[in-house]
Symmetry: C2
Subunit: 291 residues, 2 copies
């Protein structure tokens, strides 16, 4: 199967399952509508697809991994909804559409985020029976929480508000706000496959490199990208005084770091041989993305 | 041991463990401070204590139940932080102190809530090894999520905003916003003890009655209570146009319903005999509380 066909197949699995989970979650309106609006708004589905690919790379069952992949996407979506709020990044557009709070109001957007985070754990928990599944859920929980994404967002908005921060803060933000969810995807996928710990660690090193590259690419797109292709305003990082790689070190250095982290991600896949080809291609394609 | 001594012993266990979990959670500042501010602000610790008592009532180990009790209290605290936000109930005072967003700002308060909800799942997940523990965590997750507390809060703020709703909406809100967390506490505690399903169901019926009684009592205190004793302004439900039992049916009927639900809670404990005395006393005391 070509990379594109396999990507599309994974994506279809994830999106069909996300629909089913929403249909079954018993949320009252307008909460359900608000959750649906953001969860089914398209997007690359990168994190859940990475989880499925990591699981398959070590011989695991993709079907059994789908609930965990969906949990990861729900957590990612909740974080976007909360990040876009006026009290955080105050963004009006996301994926070419008004942000959640613009449509449903701030109160319902906060609840939609809370609901998606809760649903993520419910969905994954329903699929937990074995030690490998408990371990997988642990990787996801750590990636999402105070030592992961939430911690990264804290440092991000603090640096922004106080117009402070240097290389240490930048790395903390990129690592925890962005890369941890990729690291969690790889850890969870490989744990579900029952991989040995050193292979899980290798996969997580790939997630780290790819996650950092992904965020540096995002920062570059904000200064050099096309707003129409991106589906959101560009130049917002500078307007908000956000700490970014090109902002701190210049776009030349940022492109260097992007290539370097992609290289680190690719090296980490060596132990997986040809089974790692899909994730290899994913890293290479993200390097040249325009949205 | 007297009821008060046992309550105090449970409370000390929960509060010591909450401190330890915060110390170990690796959240950056000011996130950690914001989480600590609300989580260690006192409060009755009713839900975690109910979980521990339910576990012990069926012969379970309290020590092994503490992580789940703490998870429940973290979820309860996150819900208070988010509920107090300007986009939700817009409250300035809670337990005699300024609310979280008044001290740390709205963005950090949203993150403190997100962090506590995430930490709840991390902490419980670290303690999950057996099917009973998986089942316990499932009860907690369902109580917190879209068919539980988050769903209840959605209907609550929707009815408030649109000044609508009758008996159906009121019951939905009381049941899901408030009672579900008590139901989850009982279900989790008994599942941890390895109780038979019919005993778990009986315990959850107690949680339902007590939760409804607790909320009706809250509604009554808002119109008849002493603000100084409560640590928050009274009369706010009417000001906000909130759907409440006394508001819809009058205080006389509310007192009736309060007694009726307490009675239902007490009846549900019959299968537990003398082992249910602590939870019996808890229901009786809550009936006459002034804060």
């Amino acid at each position: 199967m070509t990379y594109d066909a396999r990507y599309a197949a994974y994506k279809d699995m994830v999106e069909a399952a996300l629909e089913n989970y929403l249909d079954a979650c018993c949320a009252p309106e307008p909460l359900l509508g608000a959750m649906r609006y953001s969860l089914l708004a398209g997007g690359k589905r990168l994190r859940p697809i990475m989880l499925l690919a990591a699981c398959e790379m070590d011989g695991g069952s993709v079907d059994r991994a789908v609930p965990f992949a969906c949990a990861l996407e729900m957590i990612h979506t909740y974080s976007l909804i909360h990040d876009d709020l006026p009290a955080m990044d105050d963004d009006d557009m996301r994926r070419g559409r008004p942000t959640n709070h613009k449509v449903f109001g701030e109160g319902m957007a906060i609840l939609a985020g809370d609901g998606l985070l809760s649903l993520a754990f419910e969905v994954a928990l329903d699929a937990v029976h074995t030690p490998g599944e408990i371990q997988a859920m642990g990787y996801i929980a750590r990636a999402a929480g105070t030592q992961g994404m939430v911690g990264g967002q804290c440092v991000d908005i603090t640096c922004e508000k106080e117009r402070m921060g240097g290389a240490d803060e930048l790395l903390y933000i990129h690592l925890h706000k962005t890369a941890d969810m990729f690291i969690g995807a790889m850890g969870a996928g490989l744990a579900l496959a029952g991989a040995a710990q050193e292979r899980i660690d290798a996969g997580m090193a790939y997630g780290r490199g790819l996650g950092l590259a992904f965020q540096i690419c995002d920062d570059l797109l904000d200064i050099e990208g096309d707003a129409a292709v991106l589906g959101k305003q560009t130049g917002m990082d500078a307007t908000h005084g956000k700490l970014t790689w090109p902002g701190l070190f210049g776009p030349q250095d940022a492109r260097h770091a992007l290539a370097e982290q992609t290289e680190a991600a690719l090296s980490a896949l060596l132990p997986f041989g040809a089974a790692g080809n899909f994730l290899r291609e994913m890293a290479t394609r993200l390097l040249g993305r325009d949205r």
